[in-house]
């Protein structure tokens, strides 16, 4: 490596490190606060590592002050159900848009693109009214149903399927597969990288979603983790930031683990589909 390219590479990395540090700062404050006793959180000197560790107190408080385990389970059930149903809808739709020739295909894809532009907050009220009439408000269905059709997923998978050779689809037809068999037996295995990317997007979005659960459910047995944390804050604990931050850390942890596990495939998927 020449001296010049070393300098420029060092500069690049310094810049990236600074940006990364800036992005990580609130996260670091959260973790640091979660292990401090109450009196140290508002002390005038800012410390990353507390003088007196309060890990056990804060974390046990987090689990006992609110049914955090229930919220986490709710989160798992809801995000898993959403992702499963999304895949069930997305893959056949994306396959049809990418590989089948039918009247109105371009128009259908145009609608998909158009729907990408609609923020879901905009349709939250109609959805709420709809769910009220069906009588599904305040249930798991209310949390899951509005997200089963993911236009983003259809778009992402369609872009990926465009790259799958037509010969492979024709070979599957010659081999005796039905169109649905082709989706599940040929396209799905080929699409694992893109599906992982979509999975991370979907799970992160719905795990962290605060807005819709706030609208859709009111009994705390259906609370998802973000709602749970907030309910926690309003509860008798008041502004007990130590346990609150501990709860927040616990909620973020599964996502972090998931991303680290899926990291390689996730990046492959993004590179494949040419998104971002």
């Amino acid at each position: 490596m020449t001296a010049r390219s070393f300098v420029s590479s060092a500069l690049r990395h310094t810049a990236l490190l600074l940006i990364a540090a800036f992005a990580l700062l609130p996260f670091a404050v959260m973790v640091s606060t979660s292990i401090k006793p109450a009196d140290e959180i508002f002390s005038e000197t800012l410390r990353w590592w507390p003088q007196k560790l309060a890990v056990i107190e804060n974390y046990t408080e987090a689990f006992s002050a609110a049914p955090l385990m229930l919220y986490l389970m709710n989160g798992v059930v809801v995000t898993a159900a959403i992702f499963f149903l999304q895949v069930l809808v997305t893959l056949p739709a994306a396959y049809a848009l990418a590989k089948l020739h039918f009247f109105g295909r371009r128009l259908a894809f145009g609608f998909v693109l158009f729907c990408l532009l609609i923020p879901y907050q905009a349709i939250a009220v109609p959805l709420f009214i709809l769910l009220y009439y069906v009588g599904l408000l305040d249930s798991y269905s209310a949390l899951v149903l509005p997200f089963t059709i993911s236009v983003f997923g259809i778009f992402l998978m369609r872009q990926f399927f465009m790259g799958v050779p037509d010969d492979l689809v024709d070979a599957a037809r010659m081999d005796g597969m039905s169109e649905l068999s082709i989706v599940w037996r040929v396209m799905l295995p080929a699409a694992i990288p893109a599906l992982t990317a979509f999975g991370v997007f979907s799970i992160v979005t719905h795990w962290n979603d605060y807005f819709w659960p706030l609208v859709a459910v009111s009994s705390d047995k259906y609370f998802t983790p973000p709602l749970g944390v907030m309910a926690f804050r309003n509860a008798e604990a008041g502004n007990d930031f130590g346990p609150l931050m501990a709860a927040a850390t616990i909620i973020v942890a599964p996502l972090l683990c998931l991303f680290l596990l899926a990291q390689r495939r996730f990046i492959e998927g993004i590179a494949f589909t040419g998104i971002k």
Binding site: D167, A171, M174, D175, M177, A190
Partner: protein, 354 residues
């Protein structure tokens, strides 16, 4: 495509050959059922299959890109056509693998896959994924996947064009041998006239969505019915010169612009020889010499500005670039085509040298 009328005999190896975009692949896809024809009928064994789905036509196809399932091993790839046909939906599902009937069927399929692998000597590749195979190996796996079902006919869409030149010659021999051994019908699409010539019982030459001629390789080469067929088949290309017919059957290359009875005369490089200028119907200057070892192809620039290729024996007298030479053709091997490219049958004499 227009007026396609092709009668393929049982057990024959027929090639559809033509330049790219001539409709040969489309014709194959229509036969397979992957594409729907806008008119006309496809009959297999005398019964129409127009409304029958590809999988029920009892045909197997080998694709140019091989189209192997990337997530399955070689053995699983080859087993797919059998699994899809013999196991029902429940037996194919994850739980169904526990059913005794599924187990028995899978065992039977594994045996058949094994036999096909042995026949194509790819048994040692069974557990590998397609990504780790070479082009030649993938091509064999694709063949095996087609063979395992014992279809009534094989459709092949340029299966050798992704192989390098050396592998291609070898695979050519293997596919021809496979055809002799299986005795099933092979319909083989290629743009490479050499593949068509070396492997086929009959060749159908297609151009512009039309079948120009269907015949044995010998007939196609020696008796082309259309100038475009003559030009497409054979390497180096057949020589084509503008000529005029005088006195009914005398071919003249030195005709006046006003002459009637204009025709196109064609002769293959090996149907001509170099001679002295004095007694030759055609003369020119040697432009370039291609020495292929076994053959010497001499390119002669004629006075009329045409490049004519003549095959010479490398053992004979070697001409030199720039020499003035005459060209004499074998009258029996002259082809005459009308201005509409159709062959004009007859025997012709060459105009006596001036």
């Amino acid at each position: 495509m227009k007026r396609i009328d092709l009668d393929i005999r049982d057990g024959e190896f027929i090639s559809l050959v033509g330049p790219s975009g001539c409709g040969k692949s489309t014709l194959l896809r229509i036969i397979s059922g992957l594409e729907q024809q806008s008119g006309g009928s496809i009959l297999l064994d005398g019964a129409t299959v127009d409304r029958i789905r590809p999988r029920d036509r009892d045909l197997a196809m080998v694709f140019q890109s091989y189209a192997l399932y990337p997530h399955l091993t070689v053995a699983e790839n080859i087993a797919v056509p059998l699994v899809m046909r013999r196991l029902n939906t429940t037996e194919r599902s994850l739980l169904g693998t526990l059913l005794p009937s599924a187990k028995a069927k899978r065992k039977e399929i594994a045996g058949e896959v094994g036999r096909v692998c042995d026949a194509l000597s790819i048994s040692m590749l069974k557990d590998r994924k397609p990504a780790s195979l070479s082009g030649g190996q993938r091509q064999r796996v694709a063949l095996a996947r087609a063979m395992v079902r014992k279809p009534s006919a094989f459709l092949m869409d340029e299966p050798l064009s992704n192989l390098d030149a050396k592998m291609r010659v070898q695979a050519r021999g293997e596919i021809a041998a496979l055809h002799r051994q299986l005795g099933s019908t092979f319909i083989y699409v290629t743009h490479d006239q050499a593949e068509a010539m070396t492997m086929s019982d009959r060749i159908a030459v297609m151009m512009g969505g039309e079948i120009l001629q269907v015949d044995t390789p010998d007939q196609i080469y020696q008796m082309p019915l259309d100038l475009r067929v003559a030009e497409f088949i054979g390497s180096p290309k057949i020589n084509v010169l503008q000529a005029a017919l005088t006195e009914g059957d005398v071919l003249s290359f030195t005709f006046a612009d006003t002459a009637n009875n204009r025709v196109q005369a064609a002769f293959r490089p090996e149907a001509a020889r170099l001679a002295g200028i004095a007694n030759a119907p055609l003369a020119g200057v040697i432009h370039h010499i291609e020495n292929l070892g076994a053959d010497l192809f001499v390119q002669v620039m004629t006075a009329g500005g045409n490049l004519v290729v003549v095959r010479c024996d490398p053992g004979g007298i070697r001409p030199a670039i720039g020499d003035k030479v005459g060209i004499v053709m074998d009258e029996a091997r002259l082809h005459v085509f009308g201005t509409d490219n159709r062959r004009i049958e007859g025997s012709y004499r060459l105009e006596a040298p001036l």
